[in-house]
């Protein structure tokens, strides 16, 4: 549809907006501000061969895969990250959007991630119906011991394999001293990747891992390897998995595929593009909330419509407002680093 606008008005708009635009001068501190943001991003992409962290236990989102890591011996290289980032965005639920039976069951807490792995996502991008072939590859710091529940020897020496009840597989192997894992739905693809993945060279611009041959099976790199820093994140959840809301320093695809969703769709909630994953009775909605953070809203009881209703009504606030709202103490955010872990 075209609406007739007379030339005079169009000229007026042009002249007045250009005059207003001409007054828009960036402040002198813009360069310093840019450098500050650049350093912030560079820290997140720090070199992969960091020294091994003390003990870590990470529960991967969705509860499907639990990788326990324990320290064996420190690597010869430098120290670990001393600082733990705390998220900038904290979610508050509008309880009126939450189904009645769950309203009194949601509790707030912090989760602590001290893992320092690099993770990226490969996948097919074709529109062929059915599951996309999606794979998350993770490389852990040298010295990390990775144990998988239900682990059994894989098809070849040096590779361990787990088949998950709700579909999908995880492989674990080492390249030299460097531990790797791959999660995906197609075992043949995972084994093909074992042959062509290796840690990046220290002098390279890419972090984490790289490939020594073209990717198999029409895979493309959907998310380049991204470093995960120690992080304190907000979590709102019920005890039974009926509702979980968290903010994570991972991409939506990394989060969803790691949680066992190998058929991820994108859709819109209001103006927001969201990624939706489903497996079994589990449904998850992942929303990018900052350049480095994703909010994941998931449930083993609610359907997509109910989850999007909740997402639409979530307010993001700062940490102190969130603590006040959910009556948490600042001490709840302290990370207690364990010294041992069980597999």
């Amino acid at each position: 549809m075209s609406i007739d606008i007379d030339d005079d008005f169009e000229r007026t708009v042009r002249d007045r907006l250009q005059a207003a635009g001409a007054l828009k001068a960036p402040p002198a501190r813009l360069e310093a501000r840019t450098r500050q943001r650049e350093r912030h991003h560079a820290r997140r992409l720090a070199a992969t061969r960091v020294g091994a962290v003390a003990v870590v236990g990470i529960a991967v989102v969705g509860g499907m895969v639990a990788i326990q890591r324990s320290h064996t011996e420190p690597s010869a290289t430098s120290a670990t990250s001393a600082n733990v980032d705390t998220g900038a965005l904290f979610p508050i639920l509008d309880l009126s959007s939450v189904p009645q039976p769950l309203r009194d069951k949601v509790g707030a807490s912090y989760y602590h991630s001290v893992s320092e792995e690099w993770a990226g996502v490969l996948g097919t991008t074709s529109d062929i119906e059915g599951e996309r072939n999606l794979v998350v590859i993770t490389v852990f710091p040298i010295g990390t011991e990775v144990a998988l529940d239900g682990e059994k020897p894989g098809r070849r020496a040096g590779v361990s394999e787990v088949t998950h009840l709700q579909g999908g597989h995880t492989l674990f192997w080492r390249v030299g001293e460097v531990p790797f894992s791959a999660i995906g739905s197609d075992l043949n693809t995972l084994y093909a990747l074992v042959d062509i993945v290796e840690p990046t060279n220290d002098s390279g611009t890419r972090g984490g891992y790289e490939f020594t041959a073209p990717l198999p099976g029409g895979l493309e790199e959907l998310v380049v390897p991204t470093h995960r820093e120690p992080y304190n994140g907000p979590s709102l959840s019920t005890d039974d998995g009926a509702l979980d809301v968290g903010v994570y320093e991972l991409s939506p695809l990394t989060l969803l595929v790691t949680g066992g969703n190998f058929s991820v769709e994108t859709t819109k909630v209001n103006d927001m593009e969201v990624a939706v994953g489903r497996h079994g009775t589990w449904t998850a909605v992942a929303v990018t909330v900052s350049p480095t953070e994703t909010m994941l809203v998931s449930s083993n009881a609610l359907d997509l419509q109910q989850l999007t209703q909740i997402v639409e009504h979530i307010s993001m606030v700062d940490e102190s407002t969130w603590q006040q709202h959910y009556r948490l103490q600042s001490s709840d955010a302290q990370v207690v680093t364990p010294t041992t872990t069980s597999g």
Binding site: F9, R16, L17, K24, A25, R37, H40, L89, T288, S290
Partner: protein, 176 residues
């Protein structure tokens, strides 16, 4: 058509002269900041967005993944403005910085006089606002706007017409 006057700037301090990025920063920072400011209606938030966008484009520039910096930077700005959540982060940072600035220099906080047309512009839906800013502030042709936004020229034309019609209505309301 009138051309834009480059505002007087302090001496340009370049970023990463060796890899050419400094030149990109110096050459485009005014245009990128202006685009962000006109789109989001706040110089403070525009500063955050501009800094973020340049900082994120830098690694891509170094890898030769950015062939035409200005359209790429503009699209990056638009992504920052379009995402409700990302924008919230920028607004929060800008507000925190404004508070610090006021504490350090309480007398410097003046009242900004706004051009009513700019205020009306900020009431347009984002899609129309983006087209109007690119067409009339940045003086881009319909086909260039289409290429920048991934829209057909006909869509650019209709969005532009609707934007102008809404602006005229808003200005008439303002005059009453």
């Amino acid at each position: 058509m009138s051309s834009l006057i480059e505002p007087s700037m302090p001496a340009v301090v370049t970023l990463h002269v060796d890899d050419g990025y400094g030149e990109v920063f110096a050459q485009h920072r005014v245009a990128v900041f202006r685009f962000a400011a006109m789109l989001c209606g706040s110089d403070e938030v525009a500063e955050e967005i501009t800094a973020e966008v340049f900082a994120r484009v830098l690694p891509k520039w170094r890898k030769d993944l950015v062939l035409e910096p200005l359209p790429y930077l503009r699209r990056a700005v638009l992504n920052e403005v379009r995402s409700r959540w990302r924008r919230l982060v920028h607004e929060r940072r800008a507000a925190a910085r404004a508070r610090r600035d006021t504490e350090l220099n309480p007398d410097a906080h003046g009242v900004e006089l706004r051009e009513p047309l700019v205020a009306a512009l900020n009431r347009l839906p984002l899609r129309q606002r983006t087209v109007v800013v690119l067409r009339y502030v940045e003086d881009m042709s319909e086909s260039d706007v289409g290429r920048c936004l991934g829209m057909a020229p006909g869509t650019v034309k209709s969005q532009s017409s609707r934007g102008l019609a809404t602006l005229r209505t808003l200005m008439m309301e303002e005059d009453r």
